[in-house]
Symmetry: C2
Subunit: 341 residues, 2 copies
DNA sequence: GCACAAATTCAAAGCGCTTTGAAATATTAA
DNA sequence: TTAATATTTCAAAGCGCTTTGAATTTGTGC
């Protein structure tokens, strides 16, 4: 079923039918109804490739998925994607996932900027100095970064206040009397982890506590590395009386380590975790319920996509770059119930 | 940079340039080199929409993502997707994710079958009687199902032997002396969960143990529902001495419930879990290490995509439907170390 | 009834690629 | 050398849509 065939059956030109279908005003209501009805009956769907070729828009946003290192992002990726998808369902657009060997990532972005495969791009997990962003600011493909990076030119981003919220969490622990606070974090080359690190460190120093690098451990987001990190921290002397943990997966492993050492989380060791709202792993259901810095990564996916959509709609009208900081709540629960150690 | 421009610079026709680039034999090696080089220099990328329009292929495979209920699949979805992506990087194709309100899912599939947006489709989590499959077998869009469903016509699928592996796991528990085996499973309307249920039930009956429906609990894949299910099972009298658990997320919750009841997993209650190889949650690292039925869902994603790609390549040459069953290992670890209860 | 404007509709060009069928050139056999 | 064949190149049509600029129809005021 093509436009041509449809218009022949209607005894109208392709122009009129196309306009009727796309809601242009220069077609009479009577004709429009007639067209719409037959289109529905015939189950007509415009061919997307033809449409893209004619309009220059694909109605797809792109996400480059590095295939070697995606273990890394993964526990959060699905949830983030759900947020992206939720917005796109409203906008009636699709996601193009571009699987790319890590070694060819940059070229992939450069290609995308030229090829018109997608109308815009979403960038996740930026590094402190992100080469992808540096490359894209020079192109005219709309993109929004989930997180921030160091870049001398303006770019659109949607982030949370990682530094601020981890500063708050650290402050809370200090005010509860903790002097030795272990920190289990993501890789510091990633901006979000670096920001959290800065929030932690600066708050310690603000309270006159010397920052001890051996209390701060980086790792991939797996239960196991949470366990290993906690196990290592528990060997530290004096033993940390509190743990600050960058995500729920780490927390699982850390709590396993605590128990294995005969320590009860929340009683012998205070815990604060950053909670991205993985629906299958709820912080308030833990034993004890976990004190968290809390921010929905699904919401982030939704909001960043809304921003990208906005830039796409504006087209070449060089819109001001947007930036959005999503709320982070500090939710106090049982895992910080005791003071001191 | 278009083909036209490129061919003008070369003093060749578009035909020749197109053929040189696409490796057709009717162009001399000298010309081909010349073309390829300039194309590289100019950083030429053919416009994908134009290409699709001309060839009828998009180099995209589709995945419909129901946006309301995707909480459900999610913990496994990322890992599955990683496998899909891994194969597609080799085949140089992309994934189109089509976000769809659950209520419009079927129409979305029908549309896709007509519109030529994708070259093929991947179906996940089929129901026992799956309407999507029933609808697609009538179309000529290639698709492969991850799992199986009841359908009178042939279709391609890639699955694991859920029934067999859960039968084996149940048998192991029975032979270890367990008579009361609790089962925490996914929703029985989904075929994979139903198969597991059948494996469990038939094995019980085979050993002359009456199947007790109150020992079999269904739920969404969250830590919390694993906890609730286990808590409920522990109230059962006589108390089950073993738990069969459908995935690692459930297992987290179940073990929390056990501990809360003062029971030690593997000692007071035996546990077997199905392990999909979530890289961030490893069964052998649990405490105690978990006995599992083990099968990589990432591998499944890779294999199913390979199958789909094969069907796409074959095109209209009505290929025989393919079916593949991936291996499931029964790996015995500490969580089944004790006999009886 | 007519001239004029407004409302509808249309034919045709164009988006950037592939592919068919024909033309030009190079190669070989006699 | 010439005819016949093989090799290389080309012009043009077509994929299914949008959109421009023109043409047709309808409606208005006098």
């Amino acid at each position: 079923m093509s436009l041509k065939e449809l218009s022949q059956r209607l005894g109208l030109s392709q122009t009129t039918v196309s306009r009727a279908l796309n809601g242009y005003p220069e077609v009479s209501e009577r004709t429009r109804q007639r067209v719409m009805q037959l289109a529905r009956e015939m189950n007509y769907r415009p061919n997307p490739s033809a449409k893209s070729l004619a309009t220059g828009r694909t109605e797809h946003i792109g996400i480059v998925l590095p295939i070697e290192k995606n273990l890394f992002v993964e526990p959060l990726f699905g949830e983030y994607l759900a947020g992206v998808a939720q917005f796109l369902a409203e906008a009636d657009m699709d996601i193009t996932i571009i699987p790319t060997p890590f070694s060819q990532e940059l070229e992939a972005y450069e290609q995308l900027a030229m090829s018109g495969r997608v109308d815009g791009l979403l960038i996740s997990s930026p590094a402190v100095n992100d080469a992808r962003v540096a490359s894209l600011v020079g192109s005219n493909l709309p993109f929004v970064v989930h997180g921030r990076t160091h870049c001398d030119q303006a770019y659109s981003y949607c982030d949370i206040d990682n530094q601020g919220s981890f500063a708050r969490a650290t402050r809370l622990l200090i005010e509860l009397g903790h002097q030795h606070i272990g920190f289990i974090n993501g890789d510091h080359s990633l901006n979000y982890a670096n920001d959290r690190y800065l929030g932690y460190k600066s708050t310690l120093e603000q309270y006159g506590i010397t920052y001890d690098p051996s209390l701060c451990i980086q790792g991939e987001i797996t239960e196991e590395s949470g366990f290993n990190a906690a196990a290592q921290l528990l060997m530290h002397r004096p033993r940390p009386s509190a743990l600050l943990i960058s995500n729920m997966i780490f927390a699982l492993g850390a709590m396993r380590a605590l128990r294995q050492h005969g320590l009860e989380p929340g009683y012998n060791v205070a815990i604060i975790v950053h909670d991205d709202h993985l629906p299958y792993l709820q912080a308030d259901k833990f034993d004890p319920p976990l004190t968290t810095t809390s921010s929905s990564i699904r919401k982030a996916g939704y909001e960043i996509t809304k921003m990208l959509h906005h830039e796409i709609e504006l087209g070449g009208n060089a819109p001001a770059k947007q930036q959005q900081l999503l709320e982070v709540d500090l939710i106090i629960r049982g895992s910080t119930r005791i003071r001191r150690n």
